[in-house]
């Protein structure tokens, strides 16, 4: 995952050197920090082995229930671990195999439903956990294999369609499964209820204690995560992993070299589906019920965003992606936190970009000034334009900068929103000084729209943020945060 060039502690000075590819060395050097203490720390950190990072990560995560006794935070933590597992699974198919699987969450659903059928009052089967969980994983792997069968003859886009339709198929079958040939197989839209909790070491895992989410599930999920992570790491380092990488980079060349391309594709589908099914068991046993609509398009896009953001192909990357997006989505539900996040991202974004250019710092200052000026002008024109309900603390502080009318005319949200999109797109078209000048009112307009239009409806706003992240990622940085920068040799 990290570039395997010789440690370029010196940039290649003059002419060509024997045994060293100049372009590669230059490319590597570009990514390095300038000389200094930060670079030394970074080089030290680079030699830390991956499992040490994993242990450190697990230790930090394990502290969460100790530090936070709020059931809500623990619950979000649990959900995040589930997302990390899902991201790892999707990484196998998309990141390692290079196959666009748009039906991935159907395997999640298959795992959840399989566990629900095997371990609930529905048919009276109550398999012990030791048997049920591996069985579900196997079922998931088989399902992945079957769905992967058409992939042998289909290329990228077609595979995407078939897998998307598989998702729709899953949805339809699960929703109508309450009258398949007169038998109630899947509970239909009412789902399956009263699923048994996991039973480990002689104890049923308690879900909640006096209404507060209990820690046992969190630790079990972390344990599952650790096992899956390590296992996948080994798979990736094995021959299969290398074969996957070659398949992803150039399927034709891989086939020409004698790799069993079809088998590899099926294998990646199976592995991904197996991980998803495992996650499904955790989900089903914790929620005590499953419904069909959970495993649908919105979940798919969420997991995809995590994988792409983190960097498809990189395990730590996708875990980081899940770690960022899951709490972010949760926090965006709450207007107070959303506001803080927005301004932090704004300020942080400018701060990061300004390191490279003083001009951006000036832009930030200009935006600030522009905002105050606009605010004062608006107040002078009509004081009701700035007297929207003031919250305490941060919200009140921000209200001195952003125009927050008391009453919003009904044409303002659509017009300002569309205007913001137009302005943003326009900024991307300009260059140099003009771009910075145009950026100032755009940033202010963004703050206005966020404060007045999007905060009042956090639910679609969250998903809009997700969609924007996805689009921006694909255009600006398709390799995500920690993914490898792939060079396409046309």
């Amino acid at each position: 995952m990290t570039d395997s060039t010789p440690h370029s502690s010196h940039t290649p000075a003059t002419g060509p050197a024997v045994g060293q590819d100049e372009w590669v060395a230059r490319h590597a050097a570009r990514g390095l920090l300038p000389e200094g203490p930060l670079r030394r720390v970074e080089e030290r950190l680079r030699v830390v082995p991956w499992w040490a990072w994993l242990v450190l990560f697990l230790a930090t995560m394990s502290l969460l229930p100790v530090v936070e006794s709020s059931g809500y935070v623990r619950r979000v933590g649990f959900d995040t671990v589930l997302y990390m597992l899902l991201a790892l699974g999707l990484n196998i198919v998309v990141g390692w195999g290079g196959l666009l699987d748009l039906g991935y969450v159907a395997f999640y659903g298959i795992g959840a439903y399989a566990y629900a059928i095997l371990d609930s009052d529905k048919f009276g089967i109550h398999l012990p956990t030791i048997v049920a969980v591996p069985l579900v994983v196997v079922i998931g792997a088989v399902a992945g294999f079957l769905v992967g069968l058409p992939s042998r003859r289909l290329t990228g886009d077609y595979l995407a369609i078939v897998t998307l339709f598989f998702l729709q198929l899953f949805q339809t079958v699960m929703t109508n499964g309450d009258s398949a040939f007169g038998h109630n197989l899947t509970g239909g839209p009412n789902g399956i209820l009263n699923i048994d909790p996991l039973h480990l070491f002689g104890h049923d895992l308690t879900v909640q204690h006096q209404g507060v989410f209990a820690v046992s599930y969190f630790y079990v999920a972390l344990a599952f995560f650790a096992v899956v992570y390590v296992a996948l790491k080994f798979v990736n380092a094995s021959r299969t992993g290398r074969a996957w990488r070659s398949l992803r980079e150039d399927p034709l060349a891989a086939e020409a070299m004698g790799m069993p391309v079809n088998w590899l594709k099926l294998l990646s589908f199976s592995f991904g589906a197996a991980v998803a099914a495992l996650t499904g068991t955790l989900f089903a046993s914790l929620n005590v019920s499953v419904f069909p609509l959970t495993f649908y398009f919105v979940l798919l896009i969420t997991v995809y965003t995590m994988v792409i953001l983190g960097g498809s192909g990189s395990q730590p990357g996708v875990v980081a992606g899940a770690l960022i997006i899951s709490p972010l989505l949760e926090m965006l539900r709450d207007p107070g936190k959303s506001r803080v996040i927005f301004f932090a991202v704004l300020v942080g974004g400018i701060a990061v970009a300004a390191r490279r250019s003083r001009a951006l710092g000036i832009t930030a200052a200009a935006t600030l000034a522009f905002g105050f000026a606009a605010h004062e002008i608006a107040r002078a024109i009509d004081s009701s334009w700035v007297s929207g309900e003031r919250g305490g603390g941060f919200a009140g502080f921000v209200d001195h900068w952003v125009i927050h009318p008391a009453q919003l005319a009904s044409w303002i949200p659509p017009v300002s929103y569309v205007g913001l999109i137009a302005a943003t797109l326009g900024v991307t078209l300009l260059h140099g000084h003009r771009r910075l000048v145009a950026l100032v009112p755009t940033l202010y307009l963004a703050a206005f729209v966020w404060e007045n239009v999007m905060l009042s409806k956090p639910e679609p706003a969250r998903y809009i943020v997700l969609g924007m992240i996805l689009i921006a990622l694909m255009i600006l940085r398709p390799s995500g945060l920690l993914g490898e920068r792939r060079v396409e040799i046309v």
């Binding site: 006794s69 009412n190 959970t294």
Partner: protein
């Protein structure tokens, strides 16, 4: 560039920590020392605000907000309404997560909702264990308060902390069916469902009663996302009297009725409480059932309606909104009683729960008086009213 990203990540992480501190989550889960009634109390409303059923949550939310705004100060309470989005597409998980969130927030003393039966089933255990009373204005699934032998083996899904201010499907179904049998003298009825819990439950209830009376019934099932019912209309026999259409989208009832006319079928559409909207469903001759008469006709409610309309310009009074107003009213009354009983402090959430059952409202927004039944947490003497749509589009009470 990677390092810049790393720095940005660090900034983001710091923000995350700061933001979560900002949110001010109360962390204590022990029986709290008590929340003072002179401070701001919170009630949370779990309802679908996005997705296919989003219109439901937005309508209910607007009425709930209005109720909090007008009723709380009158009772001397400072109450903040928090909305939680439980889209039907995301099922149980989000309901449980949000349940955890509100359980963990010490200031939350009562819950309105969950509005959808699926979310109610998912979250009720959490609320019950935390002692939080929750009252739903629209989750009509029978086995939330009464055991229903036809589903789930007769096990009760609800808990003693679950209340509702609208009657359950076990009343609506038979009421509608009996009207059809006794007043309309039907011989053949087509029953539709939409592959989601509300309609399937109601359809089964009506089917059972009709079959028991010897009426010929046939079932049709559309998916939740169906908008074009032409093919379904062709399957309606030309001698069918009624098509029972328990949709939650009045527009679909209108479409179906129009397409029946288009194809020259004589059957009339009979909608459930979800199709109640005189601005959207207005094909003359159709029937609608509702748990309240049209409140726009009530003089006692005129002030409330006018005030709500002022806050929500351009919106029509629907059928899902007023029960939400009522639910908030009941909750606030229970909170007030708990405050009085404990001398200005709510010692524990159970106190509100204890007071809920005793709440009686004399100027009930849906007409008459309100009280809970002694046998279940459903309204006492709940009944359903049947309306017929007249040629000018208005709803006339017929049963």
């Amino acid at each position: 560039m990677k390092k810049a990203i790393g720095l940005a990540l660090a900034v983001l992480a710091a923000t995350v920590v700061a933001a979560s501190a900002q949110g001010g989550q109360q962390v204590s889960t022990q029986a709290a020392a008590g929340v003072s009634c002179s401070g701001t109390l919170k009630i949370a409303f779990l309802t679908p605000l996005t997705g296919g059923a989003g219109f439901l949550g937005n309508e209910q939310g607007s009425w709930a907000k209005y109720a909090v705004k007008t009723l709380a100060p009158a009772m001397g309470l400072k109450v903040q309404l928090v909305m939680g989005d439980t889209p039907v597409e995301q099922g149980a998980a989000v309901a449980q997560t949000l349940a955890q969130k509100y359980v963990g927030d010490k200031k939350v003393v009562g819950i309105i909702g969950p509005s959808t039966s699926g979310a109610a089933v998912a979250a009720t255990q959490t609320f019950f264990q935390a002692g939080l009373a929750h009252i739903s204005p629209s989750a009509t699934k029978t086995d939330l308060t009464k055991s229903d032998p036809s589903t789930n083996g007769g096990k009760l899904e609800g808990t003693p902390a679950f209340f509702r201010d609208v009657p359950g499907d076990y009343i609506q179904g038979p009421t509608d069916a009996r009207f059809m049998i006794n007043t309309l003298h039907v011989k053949k009825v087509v029953i539709m469902d939409f592959q989601e819990p509300y309609s399937t439950g109601l359809a089964s209830a009506v089917d059972r009663t009709l079959k028991a009376a010897g009426v010929a019934t046939s079932r049709l099932s559309a998916s939740n996302t169906t908008t074009d019912y032409s093919a379904f209309v062709t399957k309606v026999p030309s001698d069918a009297d009624i098509v029972f259409f328990p949709t939650q989208k009045p527009g679909d009832a209108q479409t179906f009725a129009q397409q029946l006319l288009e194809q020259g079928k004589k059957a009339k559409v009979f909608g459930g409480d979800g199709s109640n909207d005189s601005s959207q469903f207005k094909v003359p001759g159709s029937y609608v059932s509702n748990f309240a008469p049209d409140i726009t006709g009530f003089k006692a409610d005129a002030k409330i309606i006018a005030g709500w309309k002022k806050d929500n310009p351009g919106k029509a009074v629907g059928s899902f909104g007023p029960p939400s107003y009522g639910a908030v009213q009941i909750m606030l009354t229970a909170i007030k009683k708990a405050c009085v009983a404990d001398h200005g402090v709510i010692k524990a959430r159970h106190d509100v729960l204890r007071q809920m059952k005793k709440v009686k409202i004399s100027n009930w927004i849906l007409g008459g008086k309100f009280a809970f039944s002694t046998k279940s947490n459903d309204p006492l003497n709940a009944k359903f009213y049947i309306f017929q749509i007249q040629s000018n589009g208005s709803y006339k009470l017929v049963g």
